[in-house]
Amino acid sequence: MDIVAEVLKKSAETAEKYKPITVTKHLDLEYDVGSLLAVDKNELDTKAINKNKNDYLLSLTRDNVQLLLNKVWDLPTERVDETVVVRLPPSTFVLPRSKPVPRPKPLTKWQQFALEKGIKKKKKPKLSWDERLKKWVPLYGFKRSIAEKEKDWVIEVPQNADPFEDQFEKRKIAKQERVAKNELQRLHNIAKAQNIKIPRTGLLNPDVSSSKDLQAAVTVARSSTASLGKFQDKLPKEKEARGISAITPGASRKRKLPPVPATQEKEENLAVLNSILNKKPKLDIEKAVNRQINQEETERSTEKKTRKPGGNKINKSKGGKKPKSGKGKSAGRKRR
């Protein structure tokens, strides 16, 4: 009994010594321990606010901070570099991002093609042994062009080439063309990735353009006369490029109707079918009346012909007087 009393007394003493860490609330707070956030939806004490706002807010916030930190102290702790740390859970309060979710980088045309065909990049060594020069020659970069010059100090003129043509110059220009084409393709890839519409670049060097491009160029060039290519002769078996009506002068674009929805198409077809199946003879009243009149007239005329001439003439008034108005309804024209 003594021990119990002693313990009770001790606990009472400690309780007196320290202020409590418990707080009672009518409604529980909403916590987001991950971002150290607590939302107290309890109604505020209007009287206390009006009396002393700052003190009331201090005591209210103290209680809420106490509740929040009680939650934090409940979390598992660790010791990192002689400081006690808690592992915070992921925060639940949803905040907007500052930039949209990153999207994967769009592939270039070549990368897409390689992916479809399963082409994988092979790693080439930077240096390779040159048998003619008897030394290691780099694949690209520093000292490569010097090695090339040493190696190809003379070029054989091809058999049916112009002997006065500079082969070195030709090679240089070809290289420049390739570089320019690559740059253009790089820009095309950037434009495609960023969804930018760029104007057509027209025809490139015939050495590097595709047959399709050449075809398009020929079609456009032919129609670029004053008479829109009407009097221009065609080569035998020459085809016109397609899909370039926008840039071909005088070309009329074939209009495509928008696709009809399935339900509408069905309705239309059924209407056609019904009109055929439920065909009734059309009654053209005007035509029928005319025919009737015509028939009557012909009958009358035949009657006239068959009757003897100079027969009894009844009711034939002389002088053809116009019927006077108001003199009997039976005779005379109806006036409106």
């Binding site: 400690t14 309780a15 320290y18 202020k19 409590p20 860490i21 991950g34 971002s35 150290l36 956030l37 607590a38 939302v39 107290d40 939806k41 309890n42 505020l44 209007t46 606010i49 706002k53 700052n54 807010l57 201090l58 209210l60 916030t61 103290r62 809420n64 901070v65 106490q66 929040l68 930190l69 009680n70 934090v72 102290w73 409940d74 702790t77 660790e78 990192v80 400081t83 006690v84 740390v85 808690v86 592992r87 915070l88 992921p90 925060s91 949803v94 905040l95 907007p96 991002r97 500052s98 930039k99 949209p100 979710v101 990153p102 999207r103 950037i190 960023q194 930018i196 519409k197 760029i198």
Partner: protein, 320 residues
């Protein structure tokens, strides 16, 4: 010819680093904030912005110059400032006859305006007006929201903006000694917003959890709502989208019981009971003839693996 859309390509290594850091990131760092003012400001608003700048400091920029901006009429200059300094958050102060002591808090998404709320400052006491030690720079504060913050859309959005502005960065580990700052945001019954900032004092409680005491360090200000521009639902949804890579995929058939033991359910294939080795007995032993036949069968099977039909026939014969 005019430039269609400039494609910026870095020329230096450092420049490339900067450009890549500006690209959308999977996990975003702390949001930086820009503090600046418009055509005319009062002393009060300037001091308030400076105090907020001090609280936000490592991730903030303060522009000490007049700007000819009326943000509710035209947001483009603000968007330009936020793009230039890479600050998705901004606070703009102004002072006019119509709207005295005005502060606009706003956010950007993808360099264009997401939302903003205009507040009028009613009373203000700065950091300097409170004696005593202040909190350490860059410490993560406890955010306490009191009162009916859910009563209107403006207040909801303002709450989100305040959390965004003050919550600093999400951290996985937090030092318990680092819990030294608390900011309370209260919506009073008259609809005013009271902001108080306190230093947290951890006192002994006789238990593991300490007893909390607060000491006000400022700034202390009361505000009232003015104009606001809320985001469309689509835009907010787009902005709050969580990347697919960060979504936690639940592992199937694994759960934990109350004692903390991990329990899993696994699926075993069909049991082949005919192949199980049972107890060996003399009576079940194969005779010499049976063994020989089996060997023969195996050899034949090996020789005519491609002709299954034949072996089947043979087996039937042997059995007979």
């Amino acid at each position: 010819m005019s430039v269609i859309k400039r494609v910026v390509k870095a020329t230096t290594r450092k420049g490339k680093k900067v450009l890549t850091s500006r690209e959308p990131q999977l996990v975003e760092g702390p949001k930086r904030a820009a503090f600046f003012w418009g055509r005319k400001t009062s002393e009060l608003v300037r001091n308030l912005l400076k105090d907020l700048y001090v609280l936000k400091k490592p991730d903030a920029i303060f522009l000490n110059k007049k700007n000819n901006i009326t943000v509710f009429e035209n947001v483009t200059p603000v968007e330009a400032i936020c793009k230039k300094y890479e600050t998705p958050l901004f606070a703009m102060g102004s002072h006019s006859k119509k709207r005295p002591n005005n502060v606009v808090f706003g956010r950007m998404f993808n360099y264009s305006l997401l939302d903003m709320v205009e507040l009028g400052i009613d009373t203000y006491e700065g950091l300097k007006d409170f004696a005593g030690a202040k909190v350490t720079l860059g410490v993560k504060p406890c955010l306490i929201f009191n009162g009916p913050w859910d009563q209107s859309d403006e207040l909801k959005q303002l709450k989100s903006i305040f959390v965004d502005l003050f919550h600093k960065e999400h951290v996985e580990q937090l030092s318990l000694q680092g819990l030294e700052h608390a900011i309370s945001f209260t919506v009073t019954p008259e609809g005013k917003i009271a902001v108080r900032s306190y230093k947290v004092l951890l006192k002994k409680s006789g238990l593991r959890t300490p007893r909390i005491e607060l000491e006000e360090i400022g700034p202390r200000f009361d505000m009232s709502l003015r104009r606001s521009k809320l985001p469309s639902e689509d835009l907010m949804k787009q902005a709050c989208k969580k990347p697919k890579e960060l979504k936690v995929i639940k592992k199937k058939n694994i759960d934990k019981d109350a004692l903390g033991n991990t329990k899993g359910r696994i699926h075993i294939g069909k049991q082949e009971i005919y192949k199980i080795q049972t107890r060996k007995m003399k009576g079940l032993k194969k005779t010499a003839r049976e063994k020989k036949m089996e060997q023969l069968l195996k050899q034949q099977e090996k020789s005519t693996t491609n002709n299954v039909q034949k072996t089947k026939k043979m087996r039937i014969e042997i059995v007979e």
